[in-house]
Symmetry: D2
Subunit: 138 residues, 4 copies
């Protein structure tokens, strides 16, 4: 439905003794990719903050298929398949420079009021921006 793609060069501090990107670091890459997808849809983190909306992650699944190495440039493809209601689900695929798939993951976020720290349904501002963006695709 909505897809975003971005590239990241693997940093030295992200690679472990085995010479692989440390498995825990992919969560950061997915996060960057979610942020870029939302930026594309014109939902900026700073704006969310002004509306007192925070988006904590409540679920994540990762399947690691191949390792990635220092200084490699990976491509992260992130997709939202459905409009969110009380949750927003993102699907991630990471590719290496040879277009091989590295890992597949999903991450689920909820909408929380930053003052009350209580979950809420998807804020209108987010829903409208997603819908507006989808219209531009047709």
């Amino acid at each position: 439905m909505i897809t975003s793609e971005n590239k990241i060069r693997v940093r030295y501090d992200e690679v472990d003794k085995m010479g692989y990107v440390y498995h825990g670091n992919y969560a950061k890459y997915y996060h960057i990719s979610r942020t870029e997808l939302l930026r594309k849809v014109r939902i900026s983190d700073k704006e969310l903050e002004n509306y007192n909306i925070i988006l904590p992650v409540i679920e994540m699944t990762i399947k690691y298929l191949k390792p990635v190495f220092y200084d490699d440039v990976i491509t992260i493809k992130t997709t939202i398949k459905e409009l969110p209601t009380s949750r927003m689900e993102f699907f991630h695929k990471v590719f290496n420079q040879n277009h091989e798939i590295i890992n597949v993951a999903s991450s689920t976020l909820i909408f929380v009021n930053s003052n009350t720290r209580k979950p809420m349904r998807v804020p209108e501002i987010i829903l409208n921006k997603l819908k507006s963006y989808i219209k531009t695709l047709n």
Copy 2:
């Protein structure tokens, strides 16, 4: 079957703008807890290295239930339910100081020869240590 429990104090650099432990940091906590479980069973990382065995993570699932805050001391309970064959699966539960459950996760590792970088079945040395440990429990 085999359970290990360890405590970690949340570090300042592990907490994000929301004041919560950054969701990507739990992978490190699970890793520490796996290492401590293996240490208890007398499988040391350094020994594995001498046998040219590395244990990359190939799958991880996490459900985040509650946030944890800076300087909190969390308890991580890690369990192996079955003897490994070509994979070793760990189950993790994290608790805060009030004994509330914070998140539940699983992580699956495979056995790889560090020279060939090829997967292998569970090495005898690992299997024997797990079995020996289980015997001491009865």
Copy 3:
């Protein structure tokens, strides 16, 4: 004048491709050690927060003398030599398990009001706790 000592076991994610603790990670170790020194003196981060005091680092120098390896237990010795005025300076020495010195560092913090984000002189509450602690030493 005031000295604190604490131990940290090196985590897997903190070690780089060379097999050494990544040089950027020592800042986190010094931070933990400063927190433990302040805890000993009964200055808790959470209390500082209630007083709207934050302590950003404004200067850091590090000399790396020897590498440290995965799973090593290091000892960090942190010292305050003088009572703070507008700055608080900490001196750090890190040792490995063989009591060899690994690196020496200093870190300088200032006192900032978390609401105004303006620097201030050392808050009385901090100064008094430092003085009280010093008295107990004599």
Copy 4:
């Protein structure tokens, strides 16, 4: 003498509770900037590896002047002022989007044979590439 400039967008996981880039994270930014300077001079990490040369950091000094915030794009300007002999010294200046200076730092690296783990004088291959690059500047 040789200067390189690169931009980095601050990631969510790099920001602390105060809303500032965690002070320990700048070491990673300097590292990226050194790598980009060396890449410009056609010294690649991967090539160094083939020559069994590693470049550990042995000294770092940082003065933090202003905070940087989440999602800001910073510019890191890194300079080598002198050809290396047994050490290579880099000077770093970080600027925010308003061209204000954020921090100034220096980092010193040595040349180590990755097999023997012994320090060496600057390898010819590095020195020649630096000299060739400087020629192109005139």
